[in-house]
């Protein structure tokens, strides 16, 4: 009945309302503007790396004259390849261990019942509150006595798991419906298997966030590498220790520092781009009704 009377424009489908379209456009405009604003620091970093030192004194986004001297210097005068490899090794190792231990522990705190769980969890939260400055000396003395200073093992040992990561995984596991675990239990999956095959895949977004942050955290860590193997032994230097060679009390080699920073930033960017694809909405929604 209806379709015959409007046969002329049968296929006509009115577009989205104008207000909605306008709203969209405004949102995009704002987004792009803000994105550009957020891009400024990077642009600044990039442009500084192509400046001469005297030019760095002024906030100017276009290098003039344009020089790649800083890049050559960073590559030739300093062993940034080695620093990057060291950092990569540490960041990958520490991130993997953290992801595993934090999600395992976070899962236990979220879902397994055991006496003392709440007290232990408060302890975990408690560790957040202890400033590094307070624990530096005891930790350093301990590691010295165990001969773990001056190589990577001490650093990896103390960075194996962070309370922030564990806490975050716990919070995330709390939001995953219990039904999946119950099904897994009945399907004869043990506690570890339930965790590994069912819960962990469902925590994909959280894992992705942690992978990004932990990788970046280790990659950018300065304080502990400095204390634990920053003494001499240049073959152990991380990217950040390497970058520290570029600034002194009264002088900073800004072009080199910024060139180095960009080198230092690329792997994190890659990690970010890889892992951000794991932010998939409503992963758990499809499995249950209720």
């Amino acid at each position: 009945m209806l379709q015959t009377s409007v046969a002329a424009n049968e296929a006509y489908v009115p577009p989205r309302s104008r207000r909605r379209v306008a709203g969209r456009l405004i949102v995009y405009g704002v987004l792009i503007a803000v994105a550009l604003l957020y891009f400024v620091p990077f642009a600044y970093t990039l442009s500084t790396s192509f400046k001469t030192l005297p030019q760095t004194a002024y906030f100017n986004l276009i290098p003039h004259p344009f020089t790649t001297a800083a890049w050559t210097s960073v590559w030739k005068d300093y062993d940034f390849k080695r620093y990057a490899l060291n950092s990569l090794f540490l960041a990958v190792t520490v991130t993997l261990i953290n992801l595993f231990l934090a999600s395992l522990g976070g899962y236990a705190f979220a879902r397994l019942r055991f006496p003392g769980r709440e007290v232990l969890f408060l302890l975990v939260l408690g560790t957040l509150m202890i400033p590094d400055q307070l624990r530096l000396i005891p930790v350093f003395v301990m590691l010295t006595n165990w001969h773990l200073i001056g190589n990577f093992s001490g650093y990896i040992l103390i960075s194996m798991v962070s309370a922030v990561n564990l806490f975050f995984m716990r919070q995330y596991f709390l939001t995953i419906p219990k039904d999946f675990e119950e099904a897994a239990k009945l399907d004869g999956a043990g506690f570890f298997k339930t965790f590994w095959r069912v819960m962990l895949p469902l925590a994909g977004p959280a894992i992705a966030a942690l992978a990004i942050l932990q990788f970046q955290g280790t990659w950018n860590d300065f304080f502990w590498p400095l204390i634990l193997f920053g003494q001499g032994s240049e073959h152990l230097y991380t990217i950040q220790l390497g970058l520290a060679q570029l600034s002194f009390t009264y002088q900073t080699l800004w072009p080199q520092l910024m060139a180095g920073s960009i080198l230092a930033l690329l792997p994190i960017l890659v990690i970010f781009l890889v892992f951000q694809r794991f932010f998939v909405a409503g992963v758990t929604a499809a499995g249950i009704k209720g």
Binding site: V27, Y28, L31, V34, A35, Y38, F39, P41, F42, T45, F59, L101, L104, G105, Y107, A108, L112, R113, F114, P115, L122, L123, V124, L125, G126, M129, I130, P131, Q133, L134, R135, I137, V139, M142, I158, M160, V161, F167, F168, Q171, L174, T175, F191, F195, P205, A206, A208, A209, L243, S261, L265, L269, F272, Q276, R277, F279, V280, A281, G282, V283
Partner: protein
Amino acid sequence: MATTTTTASESLRRAGRGSLAGARIREAGWGYLFVLLPMAVFGLFFIYPLVYGIYISFFEWGILGKVHGVGTANYHTIFHDSVFRRSIKNIVEYTVVVVPLEMALGLLIALVINAKIRGRAFFRSSFYFPSLVSSAAITAIFIYLLNADGLLNAIIGGNRAWFGDPSTALWAIVGLNAWTTAGTVMLFYLAALQSISTDVYEAAAVDGTGTWRTFWRITFPLLKPAHFFVLVVFGIGALKLFDQSFIVSSGTGGPVYSTYTPVLYIYNTAFKSAEFGPAAAAGVVMFVAIFLLTLFQRATVGRSEAG
């Protein structure tokens, strides 16, 4: 088991393979196993230093160790130290402002880039950029922006040195940190947003819920576990402010004590003055204060954190 001491429950226990045993004990065993390594790390490298710190706080203690016991004198010292008292005032003001700001900004960005928009990956990356760029560059830029002849003054007119003026230095740090930390907060929120079931949004859409109301009545409450996390972690992070105040003031906490923080106090007292007793006492005071605060948060915000 909720059974009381009736004979029925007795026989039940006997029948249940000896004791309360069985599944419960196995579950607990796995629980302990799962948290064993993390707890060992925390115990060795956090709790032990903390306990050690508590011990130190009752001594005069130098670089080479114990000198002699002083009772609670270190606590008297710090509480009578106007610098320490000022640092507490600063940090409370700072935290109260910066944390909500970080949360709001982080959540806002997370929401925007979680929306179904074209080029989501692009926006995600660009909004995360400030978190990627080295903090040295960010701080340098911020100092440029907030200089007496910086961009901000150029826009609003005036010639205030935002980092150099005692009345604004702390707020300049607030701005700096809110801006750089928002990316991290955003990531946590972004992850948390994914755990919200999509059909809830569909139901809300059919129910004619506007964007604003969907956010406040659906998204926001369902993010409760994330709020609790962000509040605790970034609240504590704010209370531990050190780096930026150190850089901006070259370690003096200036101008006129306006950026002095408790951790800076601990740092200076311990590593510059080598007075580990008062430094430890300050650390303990901070720990206790934050711990009580966290317990309080847990009792309020965290209570029903979607268990």
